[in-house]
Structures are given as structure tokens and as C-alpha cells.
């Protein structure tokens, strides 16, 4: 049975070849894997090797790697959000410096502003090349978490190509 899931925000496809209550065979990126469950709920390979596994809901910790799994395709491509260049504050803080002006064109990775939070300075950089379309805050203002700090409009594709 073919499935399309979302792993750590990325769409992936795989195929379940065989499954019962305790074991599974699946095909992922042209390779076939066989696993089974131990009594305590940890996973083991077909060579009976233990894989250290923890699970809480959709969050998994498997042999030291973190995974978040959603049993469906991504609702919307994450790239769509980035293309708009919306930049949200990662945490509550104060705007310390603004390096750009309205209408200014910025390159990918260019510093846009400095947010002070938890007494440390964090530089917010441009996730895309674009034009500054909105600057809702001034230096010294307090912002909450997940507040839009700056609006960037992506540069037209042909300009990017040059």
C-alpha cells in the first residue's frame, strides 16, 4: 500500500509491503526494510538489533534522531510561506536596530534587524532576496512571539536570474 506522509515538514512517499501486529516490511526510496516490535515497544531490525526508540504522539526519538510524523501530505508547501518572506519574531523581545528601509531591495541572508530577547541580541536575516514592503515596528518597541516583524516581497524571477 503506497503512502504519502510528512516527515519533519517534508513530504515523503513509501510503500508498506507487509504488516502484522508485531512486524512490518516497507519500501522507502528503492530499499526494503524489515522491522519488528519488542515487548517494551522498542523497534528491532531483522538482525534482532535493538533500536532505541521513544514515542510521544507524533514525536519520535529513534536512535538519537528526532522525527515528527504526520500521516498525510503537507497541507501547503512550506516554500509558499517563505516565498512571501513573512518574518515572525521567534520569541518575545525588543527591536534594537533596523538595518533596512521601506522599498529597499535586500539579498538573501542580509541582516534586516536586531531583536533583543532574553538579554541576548539576535540578528534577523532575509530568508529570500526581496523588497521591504512593510516595517510595522520602530526601534525600541516590544514585540510578542510570532509577530510579523517585516514584510518582504520576493524579487521577480527574471531579476533573480540575472
Amino acid at each position: 500500500m503506497r503512502k504519502e506522509w510528512t516527515v519533519n515538514g517534508e513530504p515523503i512517499q513509501f510503500e508498506v509491503l507487509k504488516q502484522n501486529a508485531k512486524s512490518i516490511s516497507l519500501k522507502f526510496k528503492e530499499k526494503i526494510y524489515h522491522y519488528s516490535l519488542r515487548e517494551d515497544g522498542s523497534l528491532e531490525t531483522d538482525q534482532n538489533e535493538l533500536i532505541i526508540s521513544l514515542r510521544a504522539g507524533d514525536d519520535f526519538l529513534i536512535d538519537g534522531e528526532d522525527f515528527n510524523l504526520v500521516r498525510s501530505k503537507p497541507a501547503r508547501l512550506a516554500a509558499g510561506k517563505n516565498a512571501q518572506g513573512s518574518l515572525k519574531s521567534p520569541m518575545p523581545g525588543k527591536i534594537l536596530k533596523i538595518f533596512v528601509e521601506l522599498g529597499q531591495e535586500v539579498d538573501l541572508g542580509e541582516p534586516l534587524l536586531v531583536l533583543e530577547a532574553m538579554k541576548m541580541e539576535h540578528t534577523i536575516k532575509a530568508p529570500i532576496a526581496g523588497t521591504v514592503k512593510g516595517l510595522p515596528f520602530a526601534v525600541g518597541e516590544q514585540v510578542k512571539s510570532q509577530t510579523e516583524l517585516i514584510q518582504l516581497q520576493a524579487l521577480p524571477a527574471k531579476e533573480l536570474a540575472t
Binding site: 506522509w5 516527515v7 519533519n8 515523503i12 513509501f14 508498506v16 504488516q19 501486529a21 508485531k22 512486524s23 512490518i24 516497507l26 522507502f28 526510496k29 530499499k31 526494510y33 522491522y35 519488528s36 516490535l37 517494551d40 515497544g41 522498542s42 523497534l43 533500536i51 532505541i52 526508540s53 521513544l54 514515542r55 510521544a56 504522539g57 507524533d58 514525536d59 519520535f60 526519538l61 529513534i62 536512535d63 538519537g64 534522531e65 528526532d66 522525527f67 510524523l69 500521516r71 521567534p90 520569541m91 518575545p92 534594537l96 533583543e116 530577547a117 532574553m118 538579554k119 541576548m120 541580541e121 539576535h122 512571539s145
Partner: protein, 501 residues
């Protein structure tokens, strides 16, 4: 002196629980404090009594001296334990405790003031001939004057906030041209963090290590040391991996550094637990950095190698009793290692993360501790320090301790909240760390080789398999419940008994 039977813990999180744990063993009652929204955190729920300090800025809660002292008096406590951070190095609080007839578990306010100020502490060290890093520690603060001093010391130099700590208001300046803008940045951060933008300038040492000596003094003139901890692995001046013994010290250097440490505590007439921090260069020269006049975050490393309970010793000293051991009776055995788990995302420039700790895992291994202020199910916000837990191990030697810690990071997690867990594992597995090439610039120097590589296809296949085989929305694996968390501490008690008897 009076016997202490009830203590108010003027702190929160893991250090509150740590002190409560020892007090429970000693039959001492504990009063905990918390701020609004922290009612369900274990430091509040596990105490004999817990009181809310209300809401608002820290000055209204954990830094509100009057509220805390009034509460201690009202609940019949004889003493206040400050933990680390908050009021632990605030001499006016120490004085206020004394004035209210309460024992402050820590040194005298005079010593705290002397050692708390970077300039006065350095003056004292000069007096008693303890080596200092070349630098300017004076009162003159004009930018041009400071720049001249920097030139005199020779680049690279370090600009530091006089009142500082924790890396705030610090800048490394590699060349003269960068000095002015670095000075501005350091001052701005210092003013915001400490309300004081006074700075000092020091020579920046190449390939230095951070070596600190745990000291303990009583009121009977005994000034002991409990060996070193190496805390060179730091990120933005925050320690993240700590260990003892240090791979950089031989017996002779250890002897010299610990002797310097007890020379300092004797000269100060110190009281209680303290830490003397030194920078060690590659030639075996060491320089006094600062003294922390309190219990340190990384104190469990020392407890692991000595088998001693440092909180119990703090209480003994506060009661006016002599320390129970002589210097030659204190042994360092095996290797202790600690990592600090932070709620931050190493793959997103270490931005603080928030969310729910869905589960801590458990482990069948021996001789380890998880010191945390959280339980499975607790929310982590950005309101307080992002350190959510410390994982500490003991091993027969450094390699065994290291392997155990890597295994535990896989088993304990936690799951559900983004942390620096994987980054810590990458450090522990790095060839330079294995070689003991642990200098303070470790994470910068190895920035590229510490980057995360994307999970392999096989790892993803395992996650998919587990998702399909285990019931949806269920917590599975060896999950720790709250009683297991304190169980990890009991385990150390067992080790302690085993080591002593």
C-alpha cells in the same frame, strides 16, 4: 549554633528540586516558592509547603527580597538556600536575611561583595599574588583611552562588562579596527542586562581552557578543595559540557591549581561552597578569572567523582559545624561528565524553543542522574532560563563516561520539545573531544564538523515503521514518570553509600 530543621528554597527549577532532595534525606522541611503559572512544576508540587509569589517581573517574584524573607519568617524557617542565579550572589539580600534573624546558606556579605565585583576581586588577587590575565580593570571608561589600553595589552583582546556574567556584554576583538563597534555593542548589552555599562579589557588567550576548582570552607578554619572541573566546552560563554578530571591536568598541575584555590579561600576567610574559575593556557600557565560564591550548576560532576553531597555540606557549614572530612580523605574516583540540555534549536541559530516536554525517557544504566525542573507533560516557556535539564554520568574512566552519556542522550530525550540534545551528542562524538582537545573555542573551531547531517533513509524508515507498528497517539518506549526522576537521584545515593562503606 542552631540545628536547621526548615529551609526556604529561594529559587526554582532543577536547583530547587536538587536542594529539596538532600533536605528530604536529612529530615529537613522545605518551603518552595513559585510564580504564577508554575503551580504544576515539580519544584512547587514536591515541596513540603509551596507559596506563590504572584505574577509580574522577576523583581516582584524571585528577586523580591522582602516577600521571600517575610515568607521564611512566617513559615518558621531558620535558613534560606539561594541556589544559583537570582539572589544567590546579592549581598544586600544576605544582609537582609541576617537582619531578619535568618541564616543565609552561603558566604558572608563582605566576601560576596569583594568577589562579586570583577575589579575588587582582581585587586585582592594581586595582593595575594594570584596570577591574573593581563588587562585594564580601572575606572577610566573613555573609548579612546580604552582603545589605547587594548593596544598596550596587544590584540586579540576581550571586552567584558564589569558587573557581568553569563557572556552578556562580552566581545572578542581580533584587531584594532573592530574595537570601537565592539565596545559599543558590549556596553549596550551590559546596560540592558546589568544596568551598568562599565567594562574591562583583557588579553584574549589562545587555545585556553576553562578549569575551575570546587572549594569548601567552614567556620573552623578548614579550607578544602574538591578537585577541578573542566568546563571549556561553551557556546557564547555558556557552559554546555563539564567534566572531571580535566584531560588537561597532570598530577603536578592539579596540585598547583588546587593549592592556589585554597590559598585564596584561606586569605578570604571564605565560608561554604565556592568555585574558583581559572583560564589555563597551552603552556600550563593559569590565571584567575572569577569566583562564584555559591553552588554551581555543574556541581553534580564533583559529586560524581567524590561521592559527596555538596548541598548537605552547605547545610553543615551553615549550622556552624566543621566539615566532616580532611583534605587527604577526599578522593577523586573515576570520571564525571555532565551535559546541559537547553530548549533551543542548534539548527536554527540556537533560537530558544518553546513547547511541551511530552516525555522523558528512562534508562537501565547505572550511575547517572537527570537533574531537571520539569516532568513529562510540563510546558517550557521563554520566561526563564532555557536550561531544562542536566544529564550527569559517572564512569570508571573518561571513555566509559562519554559512551554512557551518548547512550543516555538517546534514551532520555526528551521527546516533543526541540533541544540541543543532538548537538551535545555530536560534541561528545567529535574526534577532538575524544582526544581531550577541549579548548574554550571548541564549538567555534569545529563549527562545520558539528553541523547536523540530515537523517539517513534508514533512520526515516525506522521512524515510519515505529509509527505504523505502535498505536497512534500513545507514548511508548522506556518512559520516565515523576517518581523515576527522583529515582535517578536515589541511584546516586546508592553509589555514594557503596563508595564510602
Amino acid at each position: 549554633m542552631e540545628k536547621i530543621t526548615k529551609i526556604l528554597m529561594a529559587n526554582r527549577g532543577e536547583i530547587s528540586r536538587r536542594v529539596q532532595s538532600t533536605c528530604r534525606e536529612l529530615g529537613i522541611k522545605m518551603v518552595a516558592i513559585y510564580s504564577e503559572g508554575e503551580e504544576s512544576l515539580p519544584h512547587a508540587t514536591e515541596a513540603d509547603q509551596a507559596f506563590s509569589l504572584g505574577s509580574g517581573p522577576l523583581s516582584e517574584t524571585y528577586l523580591n527580597q522582602k516577600k521571600i524573607i517575610d515568607l521564611a519568617l512566617k513559615t518558621g524557617c531558620q535558613a534560606i538556600h539561594p541556589g544559583y542565579g537570582f539572589l544567590s550572589e546579592n549581598s544586600s539580600f544576605t544582609k537582609a536575611c541576617k537582619a531578619a534573624g535568618l541564616i543565609f546558606i552561603g558566604p558572608t556579605p563582605e566576601v560576596m561583595e569583594l568577589m562579586g565585583d570583577k575589579q575588587s576581586s582582581k585587586k585582592k588577587m594581586e595582593e595575594i599574588q594570584v596570577p591574573l590575565i593581563p588587562g585594564y580593570h580601572g575606572d577610566r571608561q573613555e573609548p579612546e583611552f580604552l582603545k589605547d589600553q587594548a593596544k598596550k595589552i596587544g590584540f586579540p583582546v576581550l571586552i567584558k562588562a564589569s558587573a557581568g556574567g553569563g557572556g552578556k556584554g562580552m566581545r572578542i576583538v581580533l584587531k584594532e579596527a573592530d574595537f570601537s563597534s565592539a565596545l559599543d555593542g558590549a556596553r549596550r548589552e551590559a546596560m540592558n542586562a546589568f544596568g551598568d555599562d562599565k567594562v574591562l579589557i583583557e588579553k584574549y588567550l589562545l587555545n585556553p581552557r576553562h578549569i575551575e576548582i570546587q572549594v569548601f570552607s567552614d567556620s573552623h578554619g578548614n579550607h578544602l578543595h574538591l578537585f577541578e572541573r573542566e568546563c571549556s566546552i561553551q557556546r557564547r560563554y555558556q557552559k554546555i559540557v563539564e567534566e572531571s578530571p580535566s584531560p588537561a591536568l597532570n598530577a603536578e598541575l592539579r596540585q598547583k591549581m588546587t593549592a592556589t584555590a585554597t590559598k585564596i579561600t584561606s586569605a578570604l576567610g571564605y565560608l561554604g561552597a565556592g568555585t574558583l574559575e581559572f583560564m589555563l593556557d597551552e603552556f600550563g600557565n593559569y590565571y584567575f578569572l572569577e569566583m562564584n560564591t555559591r553552588l554551581q550548576v555543574e556541581h553534580p560532576v564533583t559529586e560524581m567523582i567524590t561521592g559527596l553531597d555538596l548541598v548537605a555540606w552547605q547545610i553543615l557549614v551553615a549550622e556552624g559545624k566543621p566539615l566532616p572530612l580532611k583534605q587527604e580523605q577526599i578522593m577523586s574516583r573515576g570520571h564525571g561528565m555532565e551535559v546541559r540540555l537547553y530548549a533551543e534549536d542548534p539548527d536554527q541559530e540556537f533560537l530558544p524553543s518553546t513547547g511541551t516536554i511530552k516525555a522523558f525517557g528512562d534508562s537501565e544504566l547505572r550511575d547517572w542522574r537527570l537533574d531537571t525542573g520539569y516532568r513529562s507533560g510540563n510546558e517550557v516557556s521563554t520566561q526563564f532560563d532555557p536550561m531544562i535539564a542536566k544529564l550527569i554520568v559517572w564512569g570508571e574512566d573518561r571513555e566509559r563516561a562519554r559512551h554512557k552519556l551518548i547512550q543516555l542522550l538517546k534514551q532520555i530525550g526528551p521527546v516533543g520539545l526541540v533541544t540541543n540534545r543532538h548537538y551535545l551528542a555530536r560534541i561528545l562524538q567529535h574526534p577532538a573531544f575524544i582526544d581531550g582537545a577541549t579548548t574554550t573555542d571548541f564549538v567555534v573551531k569545529h563549527k562545520d564538523s558539528l553541523k547536523r547531517s540530515p537523517p539517513t533513509d534508514e533512520a526515516q524508515a525506522r521512524a515510519l515503521a515505529l509509527a505504523l507498528l505502535s498505536p497512534e497517539q500513545k507514548t511508548i518506549g522506556a518512559i520516565m514518570n515523576s517518581s523515576n526522576v527522583s529515582g535517578a537521584w536515589d541511584q546516586l545515593s546508592g553509589f555514594r553509600m557503596g563508595g564510602r562503606l
